[in-house]
Each structure stands twice: as C-alpha cells, then as structure tokens.
C-alpha cells in the first residue's frame, strides 16, 4: 500500500516532467479594422536602404513589419511592389575595405531593365505606397509616375495616377502615413543649394488634404512625425573641424592664407576651409557647430586639397543658419502633424524622439544602437535610410502608438530578428 503510494507519487512527478508553458500574448484588434492596410510615404516607407530600393530591403520595410504583426490581430495581406532583385535601379552600396578603412562602395551591378517595367497588371493592386524621393505634395500630382520611375513602375496608369488615388484602390480600412522628410531633407543633403524647404503653411495644407483623403471613409490610421535629420550619419560622420594639422603644416597653411586674416590654423583640429559668398574673400573656415556632409568626395579631400588648400563648395556643408532653418522647419512640421493627428483622432507616432535619443545610444531588446555611421546599427550605408533593424524599431513605435490609440493588442516584433549592417 505504502509502496504503491510512493510509486504513484513518482509517477505523478514524471508526468509533470515536461517543459514549462506560458500563457502567450493575446492579440486583438481593439477598435480598429486592420483587414486592409495601406502605407503611404517616401523612401522610409518603401524600405529604401543602402542608397537603393531593392527586394530584401523592401521585405524589411517598416510597414511590412507592421503588417506582419497586424496579421495576428485581423490584418490581411500586404502587397508590396517588390523589385525583381537585390539591386533595384543599380545604385546600391555595399561595404568594403578600402585602404584599411570600412567604406561603402557601389555594388557595381548592371541595372536589370525588368525593374523598370510596369508591374501593376501582374502584381497589383498594392498596399505599400512608399515612393522614394517623394515630397508631400508629390503624392497628389497626377502622372507623378511619369516623373518618378519608383512610382511609375507600379502606378495603375503612369500618365494619370496620383499616388493617393492608387492607394485608395484597395479601399483601405487602416492607413499608415509618414511623409514630409524630403520637404526638408532635399534642401539639407544639397547643402541648401538649388533646393528649397517646403513652406510650412503649404506643407500643412498638403498634409491636411492627404489625411482627409486617406481617412475619407472614417478609416483609422497612424501618422508619424519627421525625424530631426541633422542627427543622422549623413550629417554627423565627417567632423566640420576635422582638419588635423601638425605645427609645421599649420604654419605652411597660414602662409598660403596670409591675405585672409580671418583664416587661421593651429596644430591640432581646425575647421575645414569652405566657400561662402558672404565671407571675406568668399572663403572661411567651418565652425564646430556646422555640418559637413557625407557627400563630399573623399578623393577631393584627400588628394586635391579640398578643405585646406581649396575651399569645399557650398553644396557640401550646412551653415549654422541653414541648420537652424532645417530644425525650425522640422519643429513646425511636427507640431502641425501632431495637431492634425489629434484633430482627426488618429494615432500619433513619435519617431523623432527615439532617433534623437539614438544619438547618444539606445538599447532595444538587449541590442545597443547609435546613430554612428556603419557601426551604429540603425542607419544603412547611405547614412540616411534605416537598416532592417532600424525599421523594426520604427515598426514597434507604430505598433505602440496604434495599441495606445485604438485599444488594440498588436504584438510587437522582436528587434533582434532583423539584420543591421552587413560587414565584409
């Protein structure tokens, strides 16, 4: 009798001898209907990375990551206008070691002409309307596909379609909108030359029209603000006072510039010499608060004396005033985006804050990120667009905002499942 008790007790323990289970996350759509979602925006929405739009980067676009998570809460298929290969229109960068330095270089692939062919009839209609290079008002321009092949390749009618009209074909029940970067970024990446910042009032009207159209059937959605672009690696990688000189080099240069008393070199760090129409002799040195752009040709810096013997042209730096123009505009755009999102009762996604915090380092799911070029993990090789892991962080910000606004329980993605920069 006692023995039997013991045997049954050990038997019971053996039956319990299985791995533990946990009640897992219970997804629910809350007040929203995620069955048909469209995402509208620019390159950041398209999944553009490493200087190009290519297939695997599109698959890791932030809206596609959100869409995969929404599937747990009633979300439907999310059709993207995928490129046929990993090189898109041929501008993709890859990382290589040049003279012992990790350097992004063109992948050097021939453009596959199939990537330029219209894919609407074969694959459409689509759910991702992220159009590289698009400014806010471009989304409303009929025939924009004729001007921008990134849209042209999947527009319903390249000569008449607007991005937004095409986006409405699937009759979305939910939308994601992240637009406006290029309205200020284009100015900034050209050093303020030959490009203008979109006027805030005009921008606000455009945003209002876009949101009204997207939400016209009372479709709920989430709208993101614009990151402070001056913290991204394109602007922060090359130090503006990165001209490092020895004592003798400094005195040699001082001789060269002896007619320009406002230009002075000393041993150590010095501001690079740049063109400036308003400066004496139309040249001056950069201050520590100015930004030298990643686009400045390294060969000219290294071998042609740019920044020391010759001034760096205007399109390669942002002056303090230009930086101020950019930041002020971003603030104004963002306060309008916040306001209208509130007025229209939509989810507001603050992408600016986490990206800003990444400047000093942020940690998600045990992985640390910074905005540092190449090694930071957030930004891809063009210094402007995100890595897959960066997109996962943005996707989780969208999901947080959606859950908060609509009382839904959409599971976030595990950030570490996505890749950062691939090293050689």
């Amino acid at each position: 009798m006692k023995i039997r008790n013991i045997i049954s007790f050990f038997g019971l323990l053996t039956m319990m001898a299985c791995e533990p289970e946990m009640e897992s996350f219970k997804p629910s759509p809350g007040d929203a209907d995620f069955s048909t979602m469209v995402a509208v925006g620019n390159s950041l929405t398209a999944g553009f990375a490493d200087g190009e739009l290519y297939r695997s980067a599109q698959q890791n676009s932030y809206p596609n990551i959100v869409a995969q998570q929404l599937k747990h809460a009633g979300g439907g298929d999310f059709i993207q206008p995928l490129m046929k290969d990993e090189y898109g229109f041929g501008n993709r960068l890859v990382l290589d070691v040049i003279d012992g330095m990790l350097t992004p270089v063109p992948a050097g692939k021939q453009v596959n002409p199939d990537n330029l062919l219209s894919i609407y009839d074969e694959k459409g209609p689509f759910n991702n309307f992220g159009i590289p290079h698009a400014k806010a008002d471009h989304l409303l321009v009929p025939g924009y596909g004729f001007l921008n092949p990134y849209f042209g390749r999947f527009a319903k009618n390249v000569n008449t379609s607007t991005v937004l009209n095409d986006a409405m074909i699937v009759e979305p029940t939910f939308f994601l909108l992240w637009i406006g970067n290029n309205d200020v970024l284009n100015y900034a990446i050209h050093g303020g030359e030959g490009e203008t910042i979109t006027n805030v009032e005009y921008f606000s009207k455009i945003i209002e029209s876009i949101i009204s159209l997207l939400a016209e059937n009372n479709a709920p959605g989430a709208v993101a603000n614009i990151p402070d672009i001056t913290v991204i690696p394109f602007f922060t990688t090359i130090p503006s006072i990165g001209l490092v000189l020895t004592e003798s080099q400094a005195s040699e240069l001082n001789l060269v510039y002896k007619d320009f008393p406002h230009i002075e070199f000393k041993a150590g760090q010095n501001g690079f010499v740049v063109t400036d129409a308003e400066a004496q002799g139309q040249i001056r040195q950069l201050t520590a608060n100015e930004l030298l752009l990643l686009s400045v040709p390294p060969d000219s810096m290294q071998y042609a004396g740019w920044g020391s013997m010759k001034p760096i042209p205007l399109q390669y730096y942002l002056s303090e005033q230009q930086i101020e123009n950019v930041r002020e505009t971003v603030d104004q755009y963002n306060s309008f985006i916040r306001k209208i999102t509130g007025d229209m009762n939509l989810a507001f996604v603050d992408v600016n804050t986490p990206l800003k915090n990444a400047e000093t380092g942020i940690i998600f799911d045990g992985v640390s990120f910074t905005t540092k070029f190449v090694t930071g993990g957030v930004f891809s090789l063009d210094g402007i667009h995100l890595t897959a892991r960066g997109n996962a962080i943005v996707a989780n910000e969208f999901i947080d905002a959606i859950n908060k606004k609509y009382g839904s329980s959409v599971p976030k993605t595990s950030v570490t499942e996505f890749q950062g920069v691939i090293f050689p």
Partner: protein, 408 residues
C-alpha cells in the same frame, strides 16, 4: 496516512508564494534532498562535514563513507514583452555530486572530508534567441574540497570547522552585434581559477530526540585573472577584436548562514526544518576587463544587484520498515535577483521545491539512497533594464538522484 501527508504538503507548497536561486546548488546528500534539502540539524552520517561540521562529532557510527550524485534537468522559458516571441533553454543536464568520508579519531574527535559541488550553473539558450547579445551559454562548475574536524564538548554540544578549497571553471558565450553575410559575431570567455573559504558549525542537542544546528559557510571569490577571450567576427573587423585576448572577471560564491532544528516524534517519524540565509549581496556587479581594448571592445561593468535571501525548508523521514526509510519535504526559494536587473544568464525566479526520497538498507551498514526533487519556478515579469530586455520568465527542474552510504 501517507496520502494525507502528501496532499497537505502539496497544498501548503502551492498556496504559499514564497520561493532560492542564483547559482547555488543545494544537492549534497540524498537523505537531506529527500527531506526538503534540510541538513543543518541532522547527525545521521558523514555528510555533516558539509551541512554542519559541529554535528559531525555526533555521528552515530565510527566511520562513514557516502557518495552520490543528482542529475538536474532544467528548463527555462522566456516570453519577450509585448511580442509573440518565446524562447527556451536547451540546457545540458548537470550532475552535482558529493563524496564524504569521516572517522572517529578519539571518543570526542571526528575527522572528515567533504568533496561536493555547492555552486554551479549550466545554461544554454536556443540558438539565435532574442537575448543572445546578453548571453547564449554560460556555465559555472566549482568543486569544494573541505577537510573538517569536529569535537564533541559534551553530550549536548558539538563544534566543528573546515577549510574549503574551491577550484572552478567559468564559461560565458554571447553574440556580438556585428555580422557578415554568413553569420553573426560571437564572443566567448573561458577560464579556470580557485578560491578559499571556510565552513564552521555548532550542534546543540538539548534532548536525545531534539537537535538544533547552526552553521556558516564563508564567501569564496572566484577571480579569473586571465581567462581566454575568443571572438568570431567579420574579417573586416578582426583588428577590433584581437584574436588572443585575455579577460579578467570575478564571481563571488556567496556566504551561507544556516539554522536548523529537528525532532524525532517517535521511533518512526522525524521532522526537520532549516532556515538558509544566503548573502547574495556579494553579487553586485559582473565586470569584464579585457587586456586589449578597442573602440568596439570596451571593458564592461554590468550591474547584478543581488539581494540577501532567506530560504525556508522543511521535511520529514518515516521509517516504514527495518529496511525502508521514506522521506518528503519542500522549500521556498525566493530569487535573489532584482526584478529590474534580471539577466537571462541566471534566470532565477522565485521557486518552490518538492522532494521525496527513500533509503533501502542493502546490508545492515549499507544503504541505497534515492531522491527526487521537483522545482517549480514561478512565472515572473522582469527586465534587465541596462539592456532594455524585458519579458516573462518561468522555469522547471526535475532532479533525480542516487547514492550509497556505508556507516560502520
């Protein structure tokens, strides 16, 4: 009768929400395991060398030799906060063991030796899991070797002490956030070291059927001076991760203050309790100091912030026949880990242990001892805040054990 006891013990254990943890292992004698890992107040055999050197002098026989081992099959489960992501461990079974030898030198003096494994950790998370940048695999293997002397002052009082020598091995592997087309980078640190400590105790026997014991095992510092640090990284980054690097780190094995009491109700039934206070606050920081640092390989100080914890243990033994002893017990082991500094390298949650055991006398001097321990780790919501890594943890462990005792 037995069924009633089983039922009530189970009920008590599952309704009280008390729980031990960290990287301490308390499997040092099949008889004690069977009784809820109590042992501080027992004077049954040479295992007192470890449990309470003061009690060794009260050993019943003239000589005692014991050996045994357990097999820890442990499972951990993790759920990443806010996601559908779950990961499991694939821990290899670990095998703590013990060997005790003791002999009465004079009427009052007993000498003994204890060789066992009071500290250890053996954890392997599934490949590619979400927390791989914190830990992929970790193992701590330490053996303690303790020569002991125990003196019986009078029939009621015994004292004893031993010197502890602890050689050990530490391994840690984790992923690095740099990847090439084929694989992600990784790092491993491996090293051996040894530490010293002591173990002292007093046994008080006010009545023939009643024992009180108190014992203190000191902290042992396992300091690794030049552990091998190995890196697997993309070729272009190899200059940042020197191939023959060394690392220093230190892991404290915490001190324990134990109190125990036992009472023989009648010839058949004996009950015991033990309070085990573990000085976990010794584990404040896990630091790594690399011989060669680079911009991508910096020294690190990782807060652990463990807190001291009291473990409550209770158990009993029932002599079913001349040859058969049955045992039952349980304990509550509260995790020493701060819920904001909860790392997946020691995912120690509050847990309840339920034990059962038996001894069968093969010969009048020789018994075969067996035990089974089930550890139920409570589901815990926790985060390692410095890495923003949050989720829920849960664990289970199944620990069968077997041993032989020869008392003559």
């Amino acid at each position: 009768m037995m069924r009633k006891i089983f039922t009530s013990v189970l009920t008590v254990l599952f309704t009280l929400h008390v729980y031990a943890g960290g990287y301490q292992v308390s499997l040092h004698g099949q008889k004690q395991i069977g009784m809820g890992l109590t042992g501080t107040s027992l004077t049954i055999d040479g295992s007192s060398s470890f449990y309470n050197p003061g009690g060794l002098s009260m050993m019943v026989s003239e000589r005692s030799i014991l050996a045994g081992m357990s097999v820890i099959n442990s499972y951990n489960l993790f759920h990443l906060q806010g996601t559908m992501y779950e990961a499991r461990t694939e821990n290899p079974p670990s095998t703590p063991f013990y060997f005790y030898g003791a002999a009465r030198i004079t009427g009052n003096l007993v000498a003994g030796i204890a060789v066992n494994t009071p500290y250890g950790n053996n954890l392997t998370w599934e490949e590619g899991w979400a927390g791989r940048f914190l830990v992929e695999e970790t193992s701590l293997q330490a053996i303690t070797i303790q020569p002991t002397a125990s003196y019986l002052i009078n029939d009621m009082l015994g004292i004893g002490a031993g010197v502890v020598f602890a050689p050990g091995k530490v391994e840690l592997a984790k992923a690095l956030r740099v990847e090439d087309q084929h694989e992600e980078g990784s790092m491993s640190i491996k090293g051996s070291t040894s530490g010293w400590g002591f173990n002292a105790g007093i046994m008080f026997k006010p009545l023939p059927e009643m024992n009180f014991g108190i014992s203190y095992r000191s902290r042992i510092d396992m300091t690794l001076e030049d552990a091998d640090a190995r890196f697997s990284v993309p070729q272009s980054l190899q200059t940042y991760f020197p191939p023959l690097n060394k690392a220093s780190t230190a892991l404290p094995l915490p001190a324990n203050l134990d109190f125990g009491a036992s009472y023989e109700i009648n010839d058949e039934l004996m009950v015991a309790i033990a309070l085990n206070y573990v000085f976990w606050d010794a584990y404040d920081t896990l630091a790594f100091d690399f011989d060669t640092n680079t911009t991508l390989l910096t020294d690190s100080k990782n807060p652990r912030m463990y807190s001291n914890r009291l473990i409550f243990r209770a158990g009993g033994q029932y002599r079913a026949s001349e040859k058969l002893y049955l045992r039952l017990g349980g304990y509550y082991d509260p995790t020493p880990v701060n819920e904001n500094y909860f790392t997946p390298e020691t995912p120690s949650v509050n847990s309840v242990g339920i034990t059962a055991g038996l001894s069968y006398m093969l010969l009048p001097e020789v018994s075969l001892d067996a035990s089974f321990l089930y550890i139920h780790g409570m589901e815990t919501q926790a985060a390692y805040s410095p890495a923003n890594f949050a989720g829920r943890y849960k664990s289970r462990a199944y620990v069968p054990g077997i041993g032989l005792s020869y008392n003559f």
